[in-house]
Amino acid sequence: MKRPLILALSLLILGALFFTYAAFNKKHTDVATANSQQEMSSYELFAEFDASETEATQKYAEQVITVSGLLLQRDLSNFQEPQIILEGNGDNGFIRCGFKEYSLQNAMDLTDGEHVKVKGLCKGFNDGGELDLLADRDVVLSNCILITLD
């Protein structure tokens, strides 16, 4: 009677250890292999955040999404995270897409004014709120990868 109990307890402890180890070493979302939850234009994405930051944050934050739009500018001013800016609303609204350092060449190969498609992890809306010097409003994506247009 004792033996099965010891065996069951040992298995339980092993399972708990494995679960703890797996949780502790959980990997970051791999955007390249993750399925995109939504696919939309940069205008549609910006419009949702513009309409309700709270609702859009709940819907998209930490989700892998695919966004296509007009590349306004490459922003390579921070070598730790090269970024590109897509048109958001034709005014002061943008989609800011950050790439990993190893994607610098991909970002550099782009040309301002071309149409691009990007897959990335949505992080939310940085609009500066009431801070008057920070009037630009960005929907922010991280860990982005470029998707080749058909």
């Binding site: 922003d75 001013s77 920070l134 960005d138």
Partner: protein, 187 residues
């Protein structure tokens, strides 16, 4: 006729000045760096954000930051998850902001290469809690870029960040925040 010419010239000068002043002194970046570091005997925790939106006015010294909490990246995904969901509640409080002033802006010569030091002070808002903070910042002007660096410390409990008893020994009550941003002039 002379009066009319003078009035027209004065008006043009005023309009030109107004436009120059509008963006004249604003330096900005959307790619600033903020990192934080927590050291305890049990564990070191660090995270970085490279998409900090920040600007300052070289005219009046106003300095502002806005940073998305979810965009802080940790080495371990689980730490990042706990930071966002349990401690910072980043879906409910998505941003941290700073609204302050470069106290000695008059000594920061943005058009002359060099290194200048000034006290920076203002209101730091995290999780809807606003506190006065201050730090010494270094401004290094090199060509078109003004680099600013500053380091200060915060206590999470001051900003309603509740640390569960089980991990209280793993998270410092004196977290070091480092800022490093390259500003360029806005035309």
């Amino acid at each position: 006729m002379k009066h009319i010419t003078t009035i027209v010239l004065a008006t043009i000068t005023l309009i030109t000045l107004a436009f120059t002043q509008h963006n004249g002194g604003v330096y900005k970046t959307n790619t600033g760096n903020i990192s934080f570091f927590s050291r305890t005997p049990i564990e070191d925790i660090a995270a970085e954000n490279h998409k900090v939106k920040t600007a300052f006015s070289s005219v009046n010294g106003k300095l502002q930051f806005s940073v998305l909490i979810k965009d802080f990246e940790f080495e371990k995904a689980l730490m990042q998850e706990h930071f966002n969901e349990n401690y910072m509640e980043s879906t409910k409080y998505p941003k941290a902001t700073f609204n302050g002033i470069i106290e000695d802006i008059n000594i920061v010569e943005v058009s002359k290469n060099g290194t200048y030091t000034s006290k920076v002070s203002g209101k730091l808002t995290i999780k809807n809690v606003t506190k006065e903070v201050s730090a010494t910042a270094t401004f290094s002007v090199k060509g078109d870029i003004v680099n600013a660096k500053a380091v200060f410390n915060v206590n999470p409990s001051d900003y309603n960040v509740k640390i569960p008893r089980a991990v209280i020994n793993k998270i410092s009550d004196n977290i070091k925040i480092s800022i490093d941003a390259d500003y360029t002039h806005q035309h």
